[in-house]
């Protein structure tokens, strides 16, 4: 069980790093699905060790949503894209350097959290926070609308992972509401991407320069 847990944590953060690294959007969507699986497995392991049926159901739900529905939605938007789906402005070396710095930051910031209730599970919190920060990095550094969307999803996977690793489980109502909100936000973003493509011709936010002071 421990090996599976460690593997899931590893995949969670590794897929986030790869999202920072790669620019082909189709690869990024695959990585999102992989990360969703890792998250589902992670919560599944927590459910088994706690022998909680409720958590098990949550794990299955997360697996369906994060590894199935959300990546499929992004892939559908990608399929409608006319031009080669690559990130245009992207410095790989700089991005990876920033990723390393963010991993360090995550380790420093989460120290009080880990010390609050030391356990192997809590020990993995820095990994999840790293995923959150990497998602944020992608969100703010990418210009293409779909890349920003991917960053948002990575960030959200990380936050969910923090919740379950810290043993909070965030309460079923909150978790349900949060997941529903994420799903709706993604659908809204998909519709808007479609509209951007309708009005601008593509989804590169470099084109978005109408509003400025």
């Amino acid at each position: 069980m421990n090996a599976v847990f460690d593997l899931a944590c590893g995949v969670l953060v590794l897929s986030a790093v790869l999202v920072v690294w790669r620019r082909e959007l189709s690869t990024v969507v695959g990585l999102l699905a992989l990360q969703g699986v890792a998250l589902g497995v992670l919560v599944g392991v927590v459910a088994v060790t706690e022998r909680s049926l409720e958590l098990g159901a949550v794990a299955v739900g997360l697996l369906v949503l994060r590894a199935g529905v959300l990546p499929a939605l992004v892939r559908r938007a990608l399929a409608g894209s006319p031009e080669p789906p690559r990130e245009t402005r992207h410095d790989v070396a700089l991005a990876l350097l920033a990723a390393a710095a963010l991993a360090l930051l995550a380790a420093v910031v989460t120290r009080p959290l880990v010390e609050l209730a030391p356990s192997p599970r809590a020990g993995a919190i820095p990994v999840a926070v790293t995923a959150v920060l990497l998602g944020f990095l992608v969100l703010v550094s990418r210009r293409r609308a779909l890349s920003q969307l991917a960053g948002f999803l990575v960030m959200d996977n990380g936050i969910t992972a923090v919740g379950f690793l810290a043993g909070a489980g965030a309460g079923l109502v909150t978790e349900l509401g949060a997941s529903l909100d994420v799903l709706l936000a993604v659908i809204v973003l998909m519709v808007l991407t479609g509209r951007i493509r309708e009005t601008f011709g593509d989804t590169d936010l470099d084109e978005l320069r109408e509003l400025r002071d």
Partner: protein, 552 residues
């Protein structure tokens, strides 16, 4: 019993209205629904304010609870505020939609969908105000992002789609930070004695037992996250775009209500943080946020060229002032903060509704393209001018008392805070000067040539602008007056471009102000005036609400 009904009525009525709009669409029979929902909010707020004993002095915690919802003095205050802004916005929405339909910028189906989204927005606001748990507050505030995204992008122009995208991306990620903060706070709560969960009242009561290190991290994330939706720096960038691109009644609601309700969430977090960490941490955090927001607003107001964005930046400045008051803390400053939110809502609603009308009539939102508006559109421009006087905080209005209260508390609160207060006062004065200068340029002076303003216009529509009184707020008469005179002569095909030349909209005669809009403007201004002149009944409620936010 009555209080429980009052808790359930606002979200119930708003959801019901959304259902009706979803099924029946935008028709004559459904136009009165949104003002009706606003009245329900006002009534429920008043019932709850009585129930918490704001006027009998028996202020305790929650007075009524229904499942995951419950109400205290701050809840009653928020419901009253939502109602007071939603009423003028709801009254003005029919006229706005009619003008958009006439100009070909909206379809009948689109109008129904917009009304449904507005109703859903009100439902989410009610839940955010009444939620017992911090988790539900988060869900409700995030839901407003989703609901209003389509309203912001409803025009489908380049600028509005871009604004909607920016809005969703910035607010979703900002609110994701708040989710992380919520999760961390729950972690701290689980470790604390008694496990208060995410229940706000329980968390505030047992805050002293929370782990300070984890709570500090959580509070920083929560203030940043909910601050995003409250329009506070550094994640404020969505606000000017969204407020400038959304339909005017929606801008009024977003500015007057959404910012205030999100800020009330910040105030709740602040109460928990003060109990766990002492006042210093949140004070520093809020001071930085407040001064950054006010500085940003002041600098961008000076050279502003778009009057809707001008209003949006002034919202950032006002919420910055509110954050300053929250940083100062103490019952007097917190009551002043709530009064500030109460005075800001209706004034901003009047301004956005007036600005929306001016955009529809002149076809532009550039400040330099609007000249002599007082001569060409007396009612709308007059309301805009008076609303602006209320907004910058001139004496008879509520914002004067609010800003004075915050300044007095700040100057008495120790050297560090006093210096910050002085800096903030300078920034408030700079902002006010910029706002008044821009407004004066737009309103005063002779009407520009080419508009038939000084010549007597044809009789049927001319009396309407000067006399909004004969129209009772019954929608039947509202429709009768407005439908005949709105922008009918405008050519339909060329309408979508927002930067269309100013001359084409007013054709041969001056367009009469729709009665619904006139009632909304006058009513909103009356609210501002009553809040300032006869605030005594409200003061008790504000103090009661401030008492629920103080550290024990």
């Amino acid at each position: 019993m009555g209080a429980t009904v009052a808790v359930l009525a606002p979200p119930g009525a708003a959801t019901l209205a959304a259902l009706v709009f979803g099924i029946a669409g935008w028709r004559r029979a459904t136009t009165w629904l949104l003002p009706g929902v606003a009245v329900v909010f006002l009534a429920a707020g008043a019932v709850l304010a009585v129930a918490v004993g704001a006027w009998t002095g028996s202020v305790g915690g929650a007075v009524a609870a229904a499942g995951v919802l419950r109400a205290d003095a701050l809840t009653a205050f928020q419901l009253l505020l939502v109602g007071a802004v939603a009423l003028p916005a709801g009254l003005a929405l029919p006229a706005h939609l009619r003008a958009e339909l006439a100009a070909g910028r909206a379809s009948p189906r689109g109008a129904g969908r917009q009304a449904m989204l507005v109703a859903l927005f009100l439902a989410a606001m009610a839940v955010a105000a009444e939620a017992a748990s911090l988790g539900l507050v988060w869900v409700a505030i995030e839901a407003t992002t989703i609901v209003t995204a389509f309203l912001v992008g409803s025009r489908r122009t380049r600028a509005s789609v871009e604004a909607a995208w920016k809005y969703v991306v910035i607010c979703s990620s900002g609110i994701a930070l708040a989710l992380l903060g919520t999760v961390l706070l729950q972690v701290a709560a689980v470790q604390a004695s008694g496990d208060p969960g995410l229940d706000i009242a329980a968390l505030t009561a047992s805050a002293a037992g929370l782990d300070p290190e984890v709570t500090r991290l959580a509070v920083a994330l929560l203030v940043l996250g909910f601050g995003t939706k409250a329009g506070l720096a550094p994640l404020h960038a969505w606000l000017p775009d969204a407020h400038a691109q959304a339909p005017a009644p929606v801008s009024a609601l977003m500015s007057g209500v959404l910012l205030a309700v999100a800020f009330c969430a910040v105030l709740r977090v602040r109460a928990i943080a003060d109990g766990a960490l002492g006042p210093d941490f949140t004070r520093t955090l809020l001071l930085v946020v407040a001064l950054a927001s006010m500085l940003l607003a002041a600098t961008l107001l000076i050279a502003q060229r778009d009057y809707k964005r001008m209003l949006a930046y002034s919202s950032i400045g006002h919420l910055g002032t509110a954050a300053l008051g929250a940083a100062i803390g103490g019952p007097a400053a917190l009551a002043a903060v709530l009064l500030l939110l109460a005075g800001h809502g209706p004034a901003k609603a009047v301004l956005f509704l007036g600005a929306g009308r001016m955009t529809q009539v002149t076809g532009t939102s550039r400040i330099e393209k609007v000249r002599g508006a007082l001569a060409s559109q007396p009612v709308v421009a007059g309301a805009f001018g008076v609303g602006m006087l209320a907004l910058v905080g001139l004496p008879p209005f509520a914002l004067f008392a609010a800003e004075l209260g915050i300044a007095r508390a700040g100057l008495a609160a120790g050297p560090g805070v006093a210096v910050a207060t002085v800096v903030a006062l300078v920034l408030v004065l700079v902002s006010a000067g910029a706002l008044l200068t821009h407004t004066g340029r737009m309103l005063l002076g002779p009407a520009p040539a080419g508009e038939p303003t000084t010549t007597p216009v044809s009789t049927p529509s001319s009396p309407a602008p000067t006399s909004p009184a004969p129209a009772s707020p019954v929608p039947g008469s509202v429709r009768g007056a407005g439908a005949t005179a709105t922008l009918a002569p405008e050519p339909v095909a060329t309408a979508p471009a927002p930067q269309a030349p100013a001359a084409e909209a007013p054709a041969a005669e001056r367009p009469a102000v729709p009665a619904g809009l006139a009632v909304a403007l006058v009513g909103g201004l009356a609210t501002c005036l009553v809040l300032g002149v006869a605030a005594q009944p409200l003061t008790a409620l504000l103090q009661a609400a401030a008492a629920t936010l103080g550290a024990p």
